[in-house]
Symmetry: C2
């Protein structure tokens, strides 16, 4: 029996990342695949104390339905943290909790995209966002980047030529997948172009608190004087992704639409989890935890870079990110990383081929390596094996 | 500044229930509004023990990303429970966890509906489902019910005349809002018609375990021999809605589409919550808990019926449900329950007007009263005040 599904289902693809994750469930696999935080540093004991406190003090409300936008004290804490990257003039009413940033991405599609509309994104861009937007039957216009971010001339030409562009989607800090960061000047210019062409900007920023080198930059939204920048944040990378709590910060007009979509999508995020995170932030110092993570991840990044330089051929270009979870690697043109993958998997090593991050094709010789989830000895061993696979091929 | 949103946003409305909930947050309000479980019976202490055990034994995995479809041991427990209502020949691979049933409803729209497609539903039907489907720009064909369920002649005429019907959406046990239940015969006939016209059936069944009188019926899906019935279930009413865990049970072809949509929507439900519920079901007896809830709710239902009979005018028709959370009341034609609402709210009492449950209009003289969340003395007092408001009006 075959059923008639919606047209959008022809566009929806399985996430390459989630497919690779399935292959790498075997414990012997050294996986540089998913953007997984280091599980050994999860605050497991703290979460026990936090949960007891929440259930003792507020147990009934923690298990009951709650407001769509979320638990007020936690929204207030998010406002405070956003202030540190220059996002001012907002209140807790400008924050809506979502099931991770991924749900924020899906809602961007749902709120803005009609079939045939265009999304402008970086080339390459985040696969999870591309897949989420694709379900709304849009086209993608991917704009090349240099080391300061998207090329503004190309962006302006695109906006001039394409009235169906609904929003510009960017990840300005330690971009997924390339690890690149936008300069302050480029962030400001982006907002100016968005103002000029009356476009919305989606600033997806899950990693900005995980910086290992270089100077922090203000959020793109900090330059926003017309409430046209939608900021997506998350606790997934700083606290724990299994809790599935992210947020959308936007001006009243736009956020009211996201609130309506949230009602229909799943009413609200988990009441208990919101209180757990809120109490965690009251009982413990999230900033201290982040500093500790930074030390761990900085070291792992260094080890991975060092090992890649040692074991990969000289022609390979390694993009060293100032933060986040990923290194982006460009192999010589004739190496197809999708075809290389099974050979590397035979050696019990996994990475994510770069091609799925290019919505309009390209990037066959690129790959994303996550350094966050593996201890240093496994990084050393995994990159060595990867180097062997490359040598066998070349 | 005004932004250009997707066309679907013109169809998306705020949920009347969520709006009423906001008005009733003041503690002095006696609310018969939302379908809220009785918070005083939430297993707060049990959840403490459960959480400690989960974090002690499996803390890292409970906070990490996990598979899209969900935690296997919990999916297996759902399979066992579905077997009790006649849903056999399924495995854990036929179950996908969602953020409450509401997310299952949203996904039904996303998987099946193109703009202009039709949804067949009961008249009236669940407001949260209507709102979720509306976001996919569908039309509704609402079919009248008698005390055995949807009228099959009208359904067949509709299916014959409307090739754009994508699915038939029904709540066969203690329907929201009417409290009506479908007979076994009618369930079987529905599947036969769905087979004949090659339509999908969405069986939304959040309440079936909360039965206070009458005999249990097999699920509609138990009559399904062609994998065309999608069953939506939830732990919201039996355990706690704040945890936001429901599930979709469907055949391989259909469920694979829902899995793809889940990836793009929010990757997966909360890893910790899935383990909390799983461990709850291993440490405690969910069936015993449900029996206790049944005793409480049965009594509350009786008190509400008794007080309505005492305080409401004789012309008022009360539909007494065999289970679930709601009584459905039909007032004389000239009473508009939406207009009555502010007068009743002045007396610090709230209910949900019936009109929003009619996707194509109607039902202005109807209202839904939830008896689950208020203790007996408040039910007595609230219905008395409601009776006074009615007398002032008549």
């Amino acid at each position: 029996m075959t059923f008639k599904f919606a047209g959008r289902m022809n566009n929806v693809k399985a996430s390459t990342i989630r497919e690779v994750l399935k292959l790498t469930e075997r414990p012997e696999v050294i996986s540089f695949g998913g953007g997984m935080p280091a599980a050994e540093f999860f605050p497991v004991d703290e979460m026990k104390k936090v949960t007891i406190k929440v259930l003792d003090e507020d147990g009934q409300k923690a298990l009951q339905y709650g407001p769509t936008d979320g638990f007020l004290p936690l929204r207030e804490k998010v406002v405070e943290r956003l202030g540190r990257i220059g996002i001012k003039d907002i209140t807790a009413d400008n924050v809506l909790f979502t099931a991770g940033s991924q749900q924020g991405l899906d809602f961007c599609g749902k709120v803005f995209l009609d079939p045939g509309d265009a999304v402008v994104c970086e080339k390459p861009s985040y696969l999870g966002a591309i897949n989420a937007f694709r379900a709304y039957e849009c086209q993608f216009i991917d704009i090349p980047m240099d080391d300061d971010g998207m090329l503004m001339d190309e962006l302006e030409q695109t906006l001039e030529a394409n009235p169906r562009v609904k929003f510009i989607y960017v990840i300005p800090d330690f971009q997924n997948p390339t690890g690149k960061s936008w300069s302050s000047e480029r962030r400001k210019q982006l907002v100016e172009l968005a103002n000029k062409y009356n476009k919305v900007v989606i600033e997806d920023n899950p990693y900005y608190e995980l910086r290992y080198s270089g100077q922090p930059k203000p959020a793109i939204k900090s330059y926003d004087t017309q409430d046209r920048v939608v900021f997506l944040g998350t606790f997934s990378k700083t606290l724990a992704p299994g809790l599935r709590i992210g947020w959308i910060c936007a001006g009243d007009e736009i956020l009211s639409k996201y609130n309506l979509i949230k009602q229909g999508a799943d009413l609200q995020v988990n009441s208990l989890t919101q209180r757990q995170i809120n109490t965690y932030m009251e009982m413990y110092n999230l900033d201290v935890r982040i500093e500790e993570l930074i030390e761990v991840y900085r070291k792992r990044r260094e080890v991975m870079v060092e090992q890649m330089k040692k074991h990969f051929p000289d022609e390979v270009k390694i993009n060293i990110a100032d933060g986040g979870l990923f290194l982006w690697v460009e192999f010589p043109e004739h190496i197809n990383t999708t075809e290389l993958m099974p050979k590397v998997l035979e050696k019990n090593v996994a990475y994510i081929p770069g091609a799925p991050f290019y919505p309009n094709g390209g990037g066959e010789n690129t790959a994303r390596f996550s350094f966050s989830a593996m201890p240093e000895d496994k990084i050393t061993e995994g990159i060595k094996r990867m180097g062997e696979a490359l040598k066998e091929l070349l």
